[in-house]
């Protein structure tokens, strides 16, 4: 138990491994300082130099803490905590004095591993965790084995981990789950990505650069067409000339659906996005988790979605939505900011005069988009104050938010109540897993107009310009040189299928490992045949399982201790003695082999030759120093041939 150089190197490796995954999100200077400190420590150990003076360490520590406070503008919160933990562990290495410090560092490394799970809990992360644990264990064992070489130490560490894995599996399955959180969490506890509740030019096209999964959907039986898959998100009503926002609903009246048909049932696994909305297909009718339905058919969870959430939902593909929409709401759906976009208003007014029905007006508008050489692009030119005018009459280049936004402005100007709906459209089918993957790149915006006889009707102006976007996805709608993520374009088939297989695996991992909550636990245990599940029962089963496994381990482990090298020479000799004993000539305890042989020979002269031969061989092997591999086979043969 001494702090020798290999142990120090082991500890450096531990800290390096547990901190490495954090480099991705920590400020660069922290990573740099940590690497520099670790290199310094390694250099000191390698050269056998003394550790830095106390005042120097203290000033470095204070400087680091101050720098963190300046960088993050606080010393509280998760991100700061992780940064502090990593920096202080690294500094602790530089004042490593006693074995106790090493133990503290080992415990700290274990703790830092867990902080990484705030950011990622994927399969590669789990694999990396196992590798890190192995290194930590090997270093840990080092403290108790002195000068043992690396290889046997690794062996001990591997044995420990291999025994721990089945035990932890039992505990993982049966440990009674408590639904968190136990206490309030810092604001920065969750990463956010995905749709926001505002829409300005560029906000959706920015998302289409992200490959990240938004949610996955498995349909129960009927799979709708791709162009029917409009995943409804935030509904935006209020427009200030630049940005669309949700605003406040003027009524709390529940939305109504009538004349419905074509129901579709499906299960959504939603990735956490730290906002309240849940996604469901137009128009949602039922949802399995507790959620409220806003008057604009927007599903809202009670709390922000901070963990991967699974829910069943059912939607109706054919419907009349809110035929009885209250007038205040309709008024909201007609409001436009004064003084903006005069050209668009004039155009809408012309259309209103020409058209004899709202349907005809909508057709005119869509035809306008379709025939005036509008372009569907991820990189539209920037727009000024009268954005809609500039877009409609000058640039004519835009992404779905441009089309949806200007379409709603035109409709409102023409006196048709309209609103913007954001969400996702389409999805990629994973054949292996049998589900659709909806990525951030599938983010979309479309419009809804209210018609007297039909209620809210979905109109997607993007479909008028670029039908491919709706039917085949973003990549087919954009030119090849568009700045899409590599995977969102058309990758080679093998890469695509590999990616889908990986996603299927990740999905299983998400569902069964990361999504293993109280509900899943009950479902799983019921399927395993457990009835009337209580936590006492689970705990009892858990303890029984552990006891059983530990019993098996004990048997296997302690057997190796008792396993003495069987003495083949002795065994063969005893066999002869037993044969003779049965014949009534037991060997006296004091008798050596030769004396015994002499006595046998005297009693049974016919056996004399054989027994002398055997005794002589035995004595030679046993006491004469004859090597076993030379004499043993012949001795055994002689014993076997010996008959009374």
């Amino acid at each position: 138990m001494k702090l020798n150089a290999p142990l120090t190197f082991g500890l450096i490796a531990c800290i390096l491994l547990v901190s490495a995954p954090h480099a991705e999100h920590l400020p660069l200077w922290i990573s740099t300082v940590c690497v520099a400190l670790l290199a310094w420590r390694a250099y000191l150990t390698w050269g056998g130099y003394p550790l830095p003076a106390r005042w120097l360490l203290l000033s470095v520590t204070v400087a680091c803490v101050l720098a963190i406070a300046v960088t993050f503008r606080t010393l509280f919160g998760r991100e700061v905590g992780v940064a502090l933990l990593i920096l202080l562990s690294t500094l602790k290495l530089l004042e490593l004095k006693a074995v106790r410090d090493a133990t503290v560092l080992i415990y700290l490394s274990c703790f830092i591993i867990i902080t990484n799970f705030f950011y990622s809990q994927s399969i590669p992360t789990a694999m990396f965790m196992l590798l890190t644990l192995l290194v930590i264990m090997a270093t840990w064992v080092h403290m108790q084995t002195g000068t043992l070489a690396l290889r046997p130490r690794l062996r001990i560490a591997i044995v420990l981990l291999l025994q721990a894995i089945p035990l932890s599996l039992i505990i993982f399955v049966l440990f009674p789950r408590v639904q968190g959180p136990l206490w309030g969490m810092p604001q920065d506890a969750y990463a956010t990505s995905g749709l926001s509740d505002t829409m300005a030019p560029g906000s959706v096209s920015k998302l289409s650069l992200s490959d990240a999964v938004a949610f996955r959907v498995a349909f129960n039986d009927t799979v709708p067409l791709r162009e029917q898959m409009y995943w409804r998100g935030p509904v935006l009503w209020d427009y200030d000339g630049m940005t669309w926002t949700r605003g406040n609903n003027a009524t709390l009246r529940q939305p109504t659906l009538s004349d419905t048909s074509l129901p579709v049932d499906y299960t959504v696994t939603l990735e956490p996005h730290n906002k309240r909305w849940l996604f469901a297909m137009d128009m949602p009718a039922k949802i399995s988790i507790s959620a409220e339905m806003a008057p604009d058919f927007q599903l809202l969870s009670r709390r922000p979605v901070t963990a991967r959430t699974r829910y069943d939902a059912s939607s109706l593909l054919s419907y009349r939505a809110s035929l009885e929409e209250p007038p205040q709401q309709l008024q909201r759906a007609l409001t436009l900011p004064q003084g903006y976009n005069p050209q668009a208003r004039r155009l809408a007014a012309e259309w209103r005069v020409q058209s004899d029905s709202p349907e005809a007006l909508i057709r005119t508008a869509l035809a306008y988009f379709n025939q005036q050489e509008f372009e569907y692009t991820l990189e539209p030119p920037p727009l000024g104050i009268n954005g809609v005018d500039e877009f409609l009459f000058e640039t004519k280049k835009g992404f779905c938010e441009h089309y949806a936004g200007s379409f709603v402005v035109l409709m409102r100007a023409a006196g048709i109540p309209a609103r913007v709906v954001t969400g996702y459209q389409g999805g990629e089918f994973n054949e292996l897993g049998g589900y659709f993957i909806i990525r951030q790149a599938d983010a979309h915006a479309w419009a809804e107009v209210w018609l007297r006889e039909r209620g809210w009707v979905r109109v997607d102006p993007t479909a008028a310009i670029s039908p491919e976007r709706i039917q085949n996805g973003l990549s087919s709608a954009l030119p090849d040189n568009a700045a899409l993520p590599f995977m969102a374009r058309n990758p080679p088939e093998w890469l695509r299928s590999m990616r889908l297989n990986w996603d299927a695996l990740s999905n299983q991992w998400n569902q069964w490992v990361l999504g293993y909550n109280t509900e899943r636990q009950f479902a799983f245990l019921t399927r395993m045949g457990m009835e009337e599940i209580t936590w006492q029962k689970m705990a009892l089963n858990m303890l029984a399982g552990i006891a059983l496994l530990v019993g098996v381990f004990t048997l296997v482990m302690l057997r190796r201790l008792a396993a003495r090298r069987t003495d083949a020479v002795q065994a063969a000799w005893l066999k002869v003695c037993r044969k003779l004993e049965k014949a009534g000539l037991p060997r006296a305890p004091h008798e050596g082999p030769m004396d015994y042989a002499a006595r046998i020979a005297a009693a049974h002269p016919d056996l004399a030759e054989d027994i002398y031969d055997i005794a002589a061989r035995y004595a030679s092997l046993r006491y004469g120093g004859e090597a076993e591999q030379d004499g043993l086979p012949a001795f055994k043969d002689a014993v076997r041939a010996f008959k009374l």
Binding site: Y107, V141, I156, L160, G180, R565
Partner: protein, 316 residues
Amino acid sequence: MLRSFRQKFRNWAFRRTVETGTVVLNQRRIYILPTRQGFAFAFVLVLMLLGDINYNLNLGYVLTFLLATTGGISMLHAFRNMAQIEIHAGQIEPVFAGETARFVFHFNNPGSLERHQIHLHDDDGHHVVFDLPAQSSTPVQFDIPAPQRGWLDSGRLTLHTEFPLGLFHAWSYIHFDVRCLVYPTPAAPQPLPAAATQDGSGKLPARGDEDFAGLRNYVAGDAMPRIAWKALAREQGLQVKQFSAYQGQELWLDWSQLPDIAPERKLELLTRWVLDADVQGLQYGLRLPGGDVMPQHNAAHRAECLRRLALFGGEE
């Protein structure tokens, strides 16, 4: 106060019998308790578990359970590191007071598994650490200072290990029936008593069989033919016939001839003289209040003289 209480508890809880022969560490002799680091680790695990619950980190659960079960299973490894070790006490050479008694214990590891970092220590903090390779016997020397002449008992020794993770402390007590003979410290060099070397030459008296010189007590190592069987028959105890070519040139180291100093000093002085006389090759005898050792010169005689001095006034 606490210490004495703990001592009492230990005496009550763990048997204190002195053992002979070979001791095998079986499950009835091995005790296991978590160490302080073990409790600290448990605390860290509880913190981690709270974090897992609060943040709903299922991979965190996996890690926490992995660490917990690794820690738990390390208890079995700690036990296995000690189990089935066979121990017997080895020969111990006498030492002089002030030197270090070297107790030797033979640790046999019969299994095919190496044992790591076994600690052997006594209640006074003397300590030795060793590994036991598979299928072999390892002599382990345990040093205890011997400040006083007489018998030095090794006392109850503790054998412990914290392998593999230091979370559990597995220990066992061994108390062998072994003791080390401690001779008195030799005094500073002093000339041998003059009266004894009558011819003043101090040369080696040639021993021979020519003249029967008398009988003396049997000392282990004496030749069989020299045993005075007649004396034995007369019930005078086991005695040996002594022959000498130069009778009368023997040196008597006599307690009663010494000046009036403390008894211990006397013993130290006599010890010095025994050593010197032995080195000079003289025939010397030892005359103590409890009995005499007839003059002779050989290793066994030297050992007998020193033994008498070591145990003077005490039990045999």
